[in-house]
Symmetry: C2
Subunit: 239 residues, 2 copies
DNA sequence: GTCTATAGTGGGATAGAC
DNA sequence: GTCTATCCCACTATAGAC
């Protein structure tokens, strides 16, 4: 390609998109993929930045050029899986119209997507749990990812035929996301073969949630529902 | 009791209880107190083991003699506060007989006890959240502390005049402990002045829980209650 | 059993040359 | 953007004093 006649490369051929930047992005991806592979193979704590760099064929400093810290590699993982969850969920959302199976399908899809990373996810959870960490699911930095996740549950609710109290309908997506966080927490701690207990938790919780949502329209339960919604409202204030 | 004539030191004076061990315990406490003070003053990550040792007037190796790792200092903190919570709760448990104020009092007492360590507790939470860590509230190593905490909520329930479904009564202490973990999680993330939002969460949740517990005796809700209890049972299996 | 002092290892993170 | 050299700190090892 060094050829003479094309020597100075007159711009007949349009340059590939973002030649410089693309290379940077490529290096970034290379480092991330290498890191995630090593995390899966030998665990997070056991994988040193030196080894990640070596395996990826770059210098340690270069890894730190793209990722502020070892923990920031986790954010890459997080984003990737959020996207994968959304994609896996689309199928169910397109085919089901009842609330319960929609919810059930989306929850199982989330577990499916994360399963290969179960052992590594324990560490993910550790760093995500720190409130001061930008990786926390509640942090400002994560809010795009969080909003995306909540939007997924809004789809679950809004695309269903369920009849809901309008106030409840407004709050439900965020509540379901919270419940999902709870399921993830349970899953992280779940050591049962094939994560049977988590599957059972989902299969048992969904009909229960479905039943409670229906019951919430009963006259006897209206005050309790109002009280619960007022609680959410009061707690949300002054954040 | 080896001695013949007991030449050296006839046992006229009984030795002070555990002369050697007491000294060890003292050193241990000294190191722990020093560490917790420094954690509060400058944060966990910023406090090095070197500084802890120096401030306590011991050698680094000595600190490691008593605490297997820096994180293990947190277990000391955890145990201390559990005891303090229990103690603070006694007053309320001795004076109240209704479920709601008993629960409310115990929850607020828990926050009171932990409040001085709020900023440091964030880090505590981080390490506690790792499932593989012995510091996790769900780990086997923590089970004495966890059992003690659940026992506290058993007192809350059993010492109250509330009329409960017997099945629910059996499960409620553990459920309340779980709720308490949730409150702690919320508290850790709570940045509002004076932790107002956490206080509101408690004040709003307790009457709601109280109401739901009462409602659970209604005929319309019995199936839902059974369903919920069955869920707990099925999820608990094969641990 | 309790403690010191010292010298090391290894890994996360950074500075600054190129 | 990429590298090499270096810093700092958690943690270990060891050898020995009391």
């Amino acid at each position: 390609m060094t050829g003479v006649t094309t020597a100075a490369a007159d711009p007949v051929e349009p340059k590939p998109e973002k030649p410089r930047r693309a290379r940077g992005e490529q290096t970034r991806q290379l480092i991330l993929e290498t890191a995630l592979r090593l995390f899966r193979e030998r665990g997070y704590a056991e994988t040193t930045m030196r080894v990640i760099a070596k395996e990826a064929g770059v210098a340690v400093g270069n890894a730190y050029y793209y990722f502020d810290s070892k923990e920031h590699l986790i954010q890459g993982f997080y984003d990737r899986n959020q996207a994968a969850h959304r994609e896996a969920a689309e199928q169910i959302l397109a085919s089901e119209t009842e609330l319960a199976p929609r919810l059930r399908g989306v929850l199982h899809a989330g577990i499916d997507v994360n399963e290969p990373y179960h052992s590594f996810a324990a560490t993910l959870f550790k760093t995500a749990a720190e409130p001061t960490s930008p990786l926390s699911p509640f942090s400002r930095e994560s809010s795009p990812a969080r909003e995306a996740a909540i939007a997924l549950f809004r789809d679950v609710v809004d695309g269903s035929t369920a009849k809901l109290d309008p106030e409840l309908r407004k709050e439900l997506p965020e509540l379901l996301w919270l419940a999902w966080m709870g399921v993830v927490l349970f899953w992280v701690y779940d050591k049962s073969p094939g994560r049977r207990r988590t599957r059972r938790l989902i299969d048992g919780s969904v009909p229960l949630i479905d039943r409670l949502v229906s019951l919430s329209r009963l006259r006897v339960l209206r005050p309790a529902l109002r009280q619960a919604l007022a609680l959410i409202e009061s707690v949300r204030r002054d954040d």
